[in-house]
Symmetry: C2
């Protein structure tokens, strides 16, 4: 940190380009979409660590920091889910504007919603499809959600009682039932670092 | 940027402390509250420039990037304004979590809302009261909003048809009708840089 800061206000608002230049890399939104239990958060966390250690400024948006905060007023109906994704997209855009590589890990089952994200963020939006058969995800059932969904305790559960509309042309397609975490992580990191060059 | 990135995923989620250490400074939310035309955005922009040039990672949340995006569904009724500030607070908290010094410039006229922000962000929240008499603000009327409010074209306009509940114990009190921009900026920068030391 510079100890002595100079006060020379000029009528100029810092923009994304100023910050990217200082950071040494472009901003981007890596959007991980896929069923519950497909491995979105696991891969996003692993990718973030590699990028962070490589000098990138990163941040993860996921259910942990969104559903109990910004979006705690929303339910899991289709309308609630639409608004959930809309708000997350707007927040991701702000993080891009701050020159950060933001990783978002959300089921985001509707094509329409992901199209809105693409329109909102343009070339900075990268769709990463974290894919595994629903049977595999259900078997993993890390959070016990499939069990609850089968028991009827959760309604509108994607893959069980609510559809997942798979991406048709994601930038990256990960198959977590066939690849290990290292392979999936490498795939994302290799692709994205080439895109983050200034 | 490191050219070769190593893929060694470990089951660990990067936290705010990891990022603050890398950035070399703590995160914080500088919340600028005050009437329209009091100078919130001007001071926030000037403070951001000084901090940015001093090596801090900064970002500004203001009407420009919030009202047309995340909060475009909200009106200016008291309920709409409450929700506006709640969401901005949640977003500011995410930016703190990403180890950024986030500057938020919003009228935020209600004490109750600012109390919620304090509760949400704790010690990372700094209330900066950008103060000028309503007559001075109305005379400046940079955006022509007071004129519209007087003509009845804008309802619930703070200072005219809606109250501004002044902060009782802000961390910083700026008087833009008595200080120049350099003085106000210096006041904020001096105070906050001492707080941002790791």
């Amino acid at each position: 940190m510079t100890e002595k800061l100079h006060i020379i206000p000029h009528n100029y608002k810092l923009g994304q380009a100023d910050k990217e230049l200082k950071q040494g890399h472009k901003a981007a939104c890596l959007w991980f979409t896929g069923l519950s239990g497909s491995g979105k958060s696991t891969i996003a966390n692993a990718v973030e660590q590699v990028l962070f250690e490589g000098g990138y400024h990163t941040y993860i948006l996921d259910g942990d920091n969104i559903r109990n905060g910004l979006n705690k007023d929303l339910d899991f109906s289709e309308a609630g889910r639409n608004e959930n994704i809309r708000r997350i997209g707007e927040v991701a855009k702000l993080f891009c504007d701050a020159s950060i590589v933001v990783l978002a890990a959300f089921v985001s089952p509707y094509k329409k919603d992901r199209e809105i994200l693409k329109d909102l963020m343009g070339d900075e939006f990268y769709e990463i499809y974290v894919d595994a058969p629903v049977e595999v995800c259900e078997q993993r059932d890390v959070k016990g959600l499939y069990k609850k969904a089968r028991a009827g305790e959760i309604s509108n559960f994607t893959g069980i009682s609510s559809p997942f509309e798979a991406p048709e042309a994601p930038q990256i397609h990960i198959l977590t039932h066939q690849e290990n975490i290292e392979e999936s992580t490498q795939k994302v990191v290799s692709y994205i670092t080439s895109k983050l060059k200034l």
